[in-house]
């Protein structure tokens, strides 16, 4: 949980977070927003959802590769853009605002962070004189694979996905359902994996001979018959879900016992923390559109937005967004600086922002009236994303359970 990203020094606890957006971050936002306005308007998203493709490959190419956002979390010497979780959070705000069907959260954040931690584990092992030579050599070999994959993900050329159920929460151990033999061949199933259909590489947690490891599976490998992806029909039309079935599928290990668990934990923590920014962007779109619509829509001879019964609901939503924005920024900043308070900041951001996003999407549908209930209007895309995001990377209740331990507010016993 508290494993540090390799390139940033750890900082001391709560209260020092920088919660505003820097000029550079605002520039990045403007660039991403302009791209999405051009390439990802609501009608395109809806058409995509009906087209049955795993993700918008052209948009991903422009956003991840050409604009370089896929490598924001990765240091330059590892082939990335040398940004931080703060910038990735800004990208996610815009992707949430456009409900874009691209694997940014799964590939550029979660899988990338897992690989970063694997590389960081090698750096830690190099300085740890107590480790056995054989284990050190294995760790180095793992890290070499991780470095290679990291560069591919950071460039945006390949999509990587951590093969865990989308509902996995950081800080609560999830069962490992795949076994690895001594030759790193994997057997088992994992259900509910987001963007698995988009992945070139799956990072699969598996029980190996020495304990839990993290294994890279190439989805286009010759033995692909040993790998099956069964799509589910997702509630969220903009993010695919699939069951992964592995039958003695060959893989390469990227982290061994200890390192793998830390990498998975850190990846889920980063994913959950930055998901709050996606939820924030989504909620902002919902409020903006609702305000715009209720200013225009006339009933009883005046704009419906002039009725206090409606405007109070929108003002209350705006209020929620003020705190959601602050909480999402606090989580992104804590992740960016390696603050040891990050698990608390992430749990707060998720528990709060997930609910705000759902409320915003629900209010958006309701305050739009009949049109909000139609397939034609994009509000439903946001409602479906918001409701799925509420479950993704841990429900608010799950985050509160984690929080109860972190801040010492224990549940009743007996």
């Amino acid at each position: 949980m508290t494993h540090q990203a390799p390139t940033q020094p750890p900082q001391e606890g709560a209260g020092s977070a920088h919660l505003l957006y820097s000029e550079q971050e605002e520039d990045l936002r403007a660039a991403v927003r302009a791209l999405l306005a051009d390439r990802c308007p609501p009608e395109t998203v809806l058409a995509h959802a009906e087209g049955g493709r795993a993700y918008d490959t052209a948009l991903w190419q422009a956003l991840g590769a050409e604009m370089g956002t896929a490598g924001l979390l990765v240091p330059e010497q590892l082939g990335g853009a040398g940004g931080s979780a703060r910038e990735a959070a800004v990208v996610l705000e815009e992707l949430g605002r456009a409900v874009s069907p691209v694997p940014y959260l799964t590939s550029a954040v979660i899988a990338t962070q897992a690989l970063l931690s694997c590389v960081g584990a090698m750096a830690d092992a190099n300085t740890d004189s107590g480790e056995q030579p054989r284990a050190a050599a294995e760790t180095a070999a793992d890290a070499e694979v991780a470095v290679e994959l990291l560069a591919a993900l950071a460039s945006g050329e390949r999509v990587g996905v951590l093969a865990v159920p989308l509902s996995s929460a950081p800080g609560s151990a999830s069962a490992v359902t795949v076994r690895a033999d001594a030759h790193a061949a994997l057997t088992g199933q994992i259900a509910g994996v987001a963007d698995a259909l988009a992945a070139d590489v799956l990072l699969v947690p598996a029980d190996g001979p020495d304990g839990v490891g993290l294994y890279a599976v190439e989805t286009s490998a010759p033995k692909a018959a040993r790998l099956r992806l069964d799509p589910s029909t997702p509630l969220d039309l903009t993010r695919t879900l699939a069951r992964i079935s592995l039958d003695a599928m060959s893989a390469r290990r990227v982290a061994g016992p200890g390192g793998a668990e830390a990498a998975i934990a850190r990846a889920l923590l980063t994913g959950a923390g930055l998901l709050a920014s996606e939820q924030l962007g989504l909620a902002e779109w919902c409020l903006t559109q609702t305000v715009r619509y209720t200013k225009e829509r006339h009933q009883f001879g005046r704009p419906v937005g002039s009725f206090q019964a409606l405007k109070h609901r929108m003002a209350a939503l705006w209020l929620d967004l003020v705190s959601a924005r602050a909480a999402a920024r606090a989580a992104a900043d804590a992740l960016a600086t390696g603050d040891r308070d990050a698990p608390v900041a992430v749990a707060v951001a998720q528990a709060h922002t997930a609910r705000v996003a759902v409320r915003a999407a629900q209010e958006c549908v309701q305050l739009h009236g009949g049109i909000g209930m139609t397939w034609e209007h994009p509000a439903h895309l946001y409602l479906k994303r918001a409701k799925s995001d509420e479950i993704a990377l841990g429900t608010p209740g799950r985050h509160q359970e984690v929080l109860a331990r972190l801040i010492d507010l224990p549940a009743p016993t007996g």
């Binding site: 977070a17 200013k295 929108m314 003002a315 209020l319 705190s323 749990a347 509160q400 929080l403 801040i407």
Partner: protein, 471 residues
């Protein structure tokens, strides 16, 4: 509403230095006019100078505070001669840290919050130089306490409907416009203003020169905290009932020692009387105690109210500061009280309190770089709801003890401490948080209309003469 109970600091950004203070007579001559831009190092140098001349260990508190004001270290963003140095507001933190480290006294900002948070920024913006020089120093040191005479029994959310009348009475003999008694009460700022007729730097562009005559005030104000200890009150009253309600109001500085001012305690649902009713009967206010032009009182009051709302918002506080901390401590110390339902609700409120804390911190960071957003108006709403929910949960958590109340004795607290008494008190007092300083419903309207740009409700009262409105 005028109820005011949050620790505040003057919130108006410095409008820039005004002309150098007159060399004689003013109590505030001590500050060296700044030779150039004031930075943190320069402020530290000046603090060291102050501390060398006035050792906090041996200097009486009041003397130290006056010296601090005269050195321009009271509120560094105020102009030189008025307790400041025209420095960036954010640098006040440097001064405060140095003075705290040296064990210097503070001016007890909670006790004089209305003066610091509302009266001072209004006087700075609209006051004449004489008003500023006479009033700001004792306001800041706490030698003179201020109260706010705005709300009335018939004018709460609709403050502009206020009915307290101010009738102008010209001076019978212009050369004897003020009795010796008036001059004494006014501390001299009335007479000098009248002689010089100086307008303030930032207000009253078209102000006529000499001020003479006086205003006779009749009416009733309510929810006035500190009225029973106040030397001055900021007062808005109706000077022209024939105009629409927002246009016939003027803004005054009311001497609370005037024999026509009667202050009665107003007991609340908590049992204590934090606030007062103030009856104004034939109170005479010299025209030199007017802030802003006649009929401009509503505009002047906006400065006051804006600062009230800003004052409630931003800043950095530790985690579990305030009511949520009290509830969390009770939870930790009393395993016998825990239930699953309360656990879920407590965690949820803890999350919301923490998110609101981040929001306050973010607002503080916006203010520090001079970019206050509309988020300020969100903070009061958020805290009102949180206080109410957390205190309600706490009473419930306490079970049998929640059935009791610490004390119904009628008391007159000088300070309101939301967390200082027991849970039942906190629960009851928090009910006021969504009423005082603008009801939550009015604040939601303001956010909806000014921040989100939603259209207003149709209104019939805006353009009608005040005297024709139904009451």
């Amino acid at each position: 509403m005028s109820a005011k109970n949050t620790a505040v600091e003057a919130a108006e950004p410095s409008p820039g230095p005004i002309a150098a203070a007159e060399p004689s007579g003013s109590p505030a001559d001590g500050a060296e006019p700044p030779p150039g831009p004031i930075d943190a190092a320069e402020l530290r140098r000046r603090v060291a100078q102050l501390l060398a001349a006035y050792d906090p260990a041996t200097t009486a508190r009041a003397d130290f505070l006056r010296a601090q004001f005269d050195a321009g270290l009271a509120w560094v963003h105020y102009p030189a001669g008025l307790g400041g140095l025209g420095a960036p507001r954010a640098l006040q933190g440097v001064v405060t840290a140095e003075l705290d480290a040296a064990g210097a006294p503070d001016n007890d900002p909670r006790r004089i919050g209305i003066g610091l948070g509302m009266a001072a920024p209004t006087i700075l913006r609209y006051g004449t130089k004489d008003q500023q020089r006479r009033l700001l120093r004792p306001l800041w040191t706490g030698d003179e306490v201020w109260c706010q005479l705005f709300s009335e029994p018939g004018a709460g959310s609709d403050l502009a409907a206020l009915a307290t009348r101010a009738v102008y009475v010209p001076a019978a003999h212009p050369s004897e416009g003020h009795s010796a008694d008036d001059a004494e009460r006014a501390g001299g700022f009335g007479a000098t203003a009248r002689e010089r007729g100086e307008p303030g730097e930032h207000g009253e562009p078209g102000e006529e020169a000499p001020r003479s005559g006086e205003w006779v005030i009749d009416g009733q104000k309510v929810w006035t905290s500190s009225a029973h200890v106040a030397r001055w009150g900021i007062l808005i009253a109706r000077t022209d009932p024939d105009l629409p309600k927002h246009r016939g109001i003027s803004y005054f500085i009311c001497d609370m020692t005037d024999p026509g001012v009667e202050v009665r305690p107003l007991r609340q649902i908590t049992g204590e009387a934090e606030f007062n009713e103030v009856f104004l009967t034939g109170v005479r206010i010299p025209d030199s105690h007017r802030l802003g032009a006649p009929g401009e009182g509503w505009r002047v009051a906006q400065t006051t109210l804006m600062n009230e709302r800003v004052a409630i918002g931003g800043g950095s506080v530790p985690r579990e500061h305030g009511m949520i901390g009290v509830a969390a401590r009770t939870w930790r110390e009393r395993p016998d009280l825990r239930t699953h339902d309360l656990h879920q609700r407590l965690l949820r409120l803890w999350v919301e309190a923490e998110a609101a804390r981040y929001a306050g911190e973010r607002l503080g960071q916006q203010l520090a770089i001079g970019q206050p957003g509309p988020e300020g108006s969100a903070m009061k709403l958020a805290f009102a709801r949180l206080h109410q929910e957390v205190s309600g949960l706490e009473v419930e958590l306490l079970g049998d003890e929640g059935l009791t109340y610490d004390d119904w004795t009628m008391r007159r607290p000088e300070l309101v401490d939301f967390t200082g008494r027991e849970a039942g008190y906190r629960y009851l007092r928090a009910k006021g948080n969504s009423i005082e300083g603008g009801t939550s419903e009015v604040l939601l309207n303001i956010i909806a209309e000014r921040v989100l740009g939603l259209p207003p409700e149709p209104r019939t009262d805006k353009d009608a003469a005040w005297k024709d409105l139904p009451r």
